[in-house]
């Protein structure tokens, strides 16, 4: 964390600091006038912060349980000839947040979703990965255009936790929607560009299925949004 850097008068950052009265040396208003105009035109979203999850004693057992599960798997599972990096790392989880009535909660906490509810998804990956998200109905119909799924995929370039850009909103009567998030190792990316394989991604998300065939190594996590 930079402690107290000394910035030049000309950079955008220096100007921002000056405009917020945070600069050590003030800058003449005429020098920051252009940037001030740009900043003034920006419209922030209302800030919504979720209620923090209460810590439960069981969480402290999670690493032990994970380790025990890992040992169990190693002992009782048949050896896999070619494990993908994703499988080896056993990495990744997703978390769904719902913003409704001015509060942000996890999907589990949120209760029934109102029509105005905005849904955001966060993916955590321990290895570089690409993530897709989409909503399907109870009878396995994809509720978005496949092009939307292609355009809204998210790259996780390094081990990191990231939100998909934007949010989803459900309107109209319930169709028993589920949100599915498919995460694939980044090294599969060239293959995923293939339209036929992308079609498999779309199908897997729509049918809430386990990835197999060309998509072996990916993970598909589905969450029921409305009954």
């Amino acid at each position: 964390m930079p402690q107290d850097p000394d910035f030049s008068k000309h950079s955008r950052l220096s100007q921002h600091l000056a405009l917020m009265d945070l600069a050590d040396t003030p800058i003449a208003p005429e020098e920051t006038a252009d940037e001030a105009r740009v900043i003034e035109a920006m419209v922030p979203k209302p800030l919504v912060l979720p209620s923090r999850l209460k810590s439960r004693p069981l969480w402290y057992l999670a690493p032990l349980l994970m380790a025990a599960a890992g040992v169990g798997l190693m002992l009782f599972q048949k050896p896999v000839r070619e494990a993908s990096p994703w499988t080896v790392k056993g990495a990744g989880h997703v978390q769904i947040f719902v913003e409704q009535d001015g509060h942000v909660q996890t999907l589990e906490e949120a209760g029934p979703l109102t029509p105005s509810a905005r849904i955001k998804a966060e993916v955590f990956s321990e290895a570089p990965a690409v993530a897709f998200w989409g909503v399907s109905s109870q009878d396995g119909q994809l509720l978005q255009d496949p092009e939307w799924i292609a355009q809204n995929r998210m790259m996780l370039e390094r081990p990191e936790k990231k939100f998909f850009t934007g949010s989803l909103q459900l309107d109209g009567p319930s169709e028993g929607e589920s949100l599915c998030i498919m995460v694939c190792p980044m090294d599969m990316m060239p293959r995923l560009e293939d339209p036929a394989i992308f079609q498999e991604i779309v199908q897997t998300i729509a049918s809430k299925a386990l990835p197999d065939g060309n998509l072996t190594g990916c993970k598909n996590s589905c969450f029921q949004l409305r009954p």
Partner: protein, 186 residues
């Protein structure tokens, strides 16, 4: 340190605890517009920039970090928005999107810099994302778009000035290579 000295020390160096909701809300009120302007200077879309800024404050709150002062907080926000905006465009570039959408014409100009005359802003950002490694893009855009000196980049990226210089030299070599390829292709 005796109690009196400790109390004086705390008065001299107050800290900002970002796990506190009230603190984050106050900082958001004060800094959100500037953070959006920063992100928009790269992504060129105000809706996406607003989303990036919101997510950045959310991350700040989640991290629960402590900062010595508001200036240090804003430097963190600035860098996080910068990187998130680059990540967004890298994803956009993967899906072969062009930079369409809500243009921010007032931010078209590139600050005078040694890179300013190579290409226009959008092409500059696209070229950087396509040709450079993540830390090279980050450093390069601080210089090319934000007009930072190498010392400033070093402060923000928490690197030595020498490392920043090396990163920018690599950038220069890669762009020279691109220009050479373009010239021989045309």
């Amino acid at each position: 340190m005796n109690e009196l000295m400790q109390s004086v020390h705390e008065k001299i160096q107050p800290s900002l605890q970002c796990s506190d909701k009230g603190t984050i809300e106050r900082l958001y009120k004060k800094m959100a517009k500037a953070a959006i302007a920063k992100a928009a200077s790269i992504v060129r879309r105000q809706d996406v920039a607003a989303e990036i800024a919101h997510d950045t404050f959310f991350k700040l709150w989640q991290s629960g970090s402590t900062f010595p002062n508001e200036k240090a907080v804003y430097v963190w926000i600035y860098r996080t928005c910068h990187r998130a905006a680059i990540d967004y465009l890298r994803s956009a570039s993967h899906r072969r999107e062009s930079f369409t959408g809500e243009n921010l014409d007032e931010m078209e100009s590139v600050p005078a810099s040694r890179y300013g005359n190579i290409v226009m802003t959008r092409q500059l950002v696209q070229a950087a994302i396509q040709q450079l490694k993540p830390d090279e893009v980050e450093a390069f855009l601080y210089v090319a778009l934000d007009g930072m000196t190498q010392n400033e980049v070093a402060e923000v990226m928490e690197l030595s000035r020498r490392t920043v210089q090396r990163l920018l030299e690599k950038v220069e070599i890669k762009f020279q290579e691109v220009r050479r390829r373009d010239a021989s292709g045309s």
